[in-house]
Symmetry: C2
Subunit: 345 residues, 2 copies
Amino acid sequence: MIVNITLPNNTSYDITIDRLNEIYYDTKVVIVTNPTVSSFHLEYLKEKITAKEISVVTVPDGEQYKNMQTIDMILDHCFENRLDRKSLLVAFGGGVIGDMTGFAASIYQRGINFVQVPTTLLSQVDASVGGKTGINNKYGKNLIGAFHQPKEVLIDPYFLTTLPKREFGAGIAEIIKMAVTFNKDFFQWLEENDLTKEENIKIAIQKSVETKANVVIQDEKENGIRAALNYGHTFGHVIENETQYKTYLHGEAVGIGMVMANELAVKLGHISQEEASRVKKLLEKYNIPTSYKIVDVEEFYEHFFLDKKSLDNKIKFILPKKIGSCLITDEINKDDVIEVLKVFN
Amino acid sequence: MIVNITLPNNTSYDITIDRLNEIYYDTKVVIVTNPTVSSFHLEYLKEKITAKEISVVTVPDGEQYKNMQTIDMILDHCFENRLDRKSLLVAFGGGVIGDMTGFAASIYQRGINFVQVPTTLLSQVDASVGGKTGINNKYGKNLIGAFHQPKEVLIDPYFLTTLPKREFGAGIAEIIKMAVTFNKDFFQWLEENDLTKEENIKIAIQKSVETKANVVIQDEKENGIRAALNYGHTFGHVIENETQYKTYLHGEAVGIGMVMANELAVKLGHISQEEASRVKKLLEKYNIPTSYKIVDVEEFYEHFFLDKKSLDNKIKFILPKKIGSCLITDEINKDDVIEVLKVFN
């Protein structure tokens, strides 16, 4: 199936959820990948994708390498292979590969095309859709980057067959996120169905991509509703930052972040304790972590301000309002937040 | 006077050519400048521009510092001053400052606003208009960058009072470029008037900005007509590259490049020898260099391919067709080019 995104500035691209078809690009192509993905699936990809000239750059695997040094590696490869303005990068891996490849494409010769071929569940349902690209630096996560929409997104569920269980769970966390914030029927469907079954995960990917596409079309640059996709992220980013991106997968940190956001939402009367428990139970069904030991509550609170969403020294929280809709607010009292953080202390 | 640019994607901004008015920005502002501009004019600027919070980052002066290290300096300053997504960078200097500030703004938190306050003639007539931003690297000039339009451009001719003569000439070269490629009446006016007089330079700035604005509106991303603005640049970039950006100012290299392009245009019958001489004479009137010693003709030719405009290993030349219009072509025989290069050998 194909989901189309057409943005107000007339950028348009398709997201295809299906086994890869054979495709020929009449230009130079560089596939950006990491050793793990490469060893499992590069041959499969190269059977499908052919081009005028094709080369591969393999970058180190992991969030800790999502930095300017790795971008330079990718760009150097592009320069050495004399890519021109019509050339194409293919992001072949998870969210880290997608974010970096997209960012490299956005600044190479002031912007060239790129294609997303996401191989993890998380990147299939979330990271590959929407055109956010970027890298981390010592100040925090995704603080350097660009909005750069892919030319197309090719989601092949086949890649999930080799995905470790933890990474699968991390992807489920983002699927649950979409359901809690935007679609109560989808949430109920998630409670009733087993996502480890292939026919179900395909439906869940489709639903998630449709939901995200709909949000991105309305608000590409995140001036409004798109911020709702950051449900769980305000807390999650601090957790990732405190643990130096080493302890948790992004989706796992978001899972914990959702539980924290729900705690705050319960306290402020936006959702019931029972609804919060349903979300937690659904996360636990896929072994997604739901607890985190906050060592220093004040320090944790301070770290919110490093997040680029903290405009004017305010912190933007996304809180569910019942299951299936949500509230974006930067008007939460520090005292209320601190009290919630103490629950995890 | 004000020239407005409205791009097809609805981005719109004004270019004001006038003494600076007092202006208040209700956000954090970082002024990016260099020690030279700062010592002459920072106090003047700070009298005019006020903001919620204002700070200055001073970066080293010169094209050789137009690199990622300097971008990191600017970005670090922004992070340390906790700029958010509504904050604003002000590019206060010549083209190098403008290109770097624009690029830093384009990647800080996936893009924030910036304002151009160009202080050199070259940046006033050319670099500050059009949204091209970028830096150099070991592979060449402006190879990393983004299209990022400023929020506004404030051109104050007062800054030209402290501009060294050589830099003034470099700016005139770009003015002549606009006239040769787009406007024969303007070219004739340039032949008849003295641009060192203030009333004349204001007219010339206005004409150049209008010409450039008109081109950028038609073709922001340089898929067609915008390439005509690179008249003189195909050769000029190689000259800058060979001399490591140390010998010539950008406008001077473009001046030489125009003479080389004209030589090729004469050879191919697009302009007469007499027209080429008129252009050369006009350049010489402002002491703009018009000759360059090519050491190795084949090597010079090879260097064309490092230019990002060389799609599919073809070199794009912009050749005047009479004075006042031009031809964009990548169909020139290597032999013809080599023969022309030998004239400078």
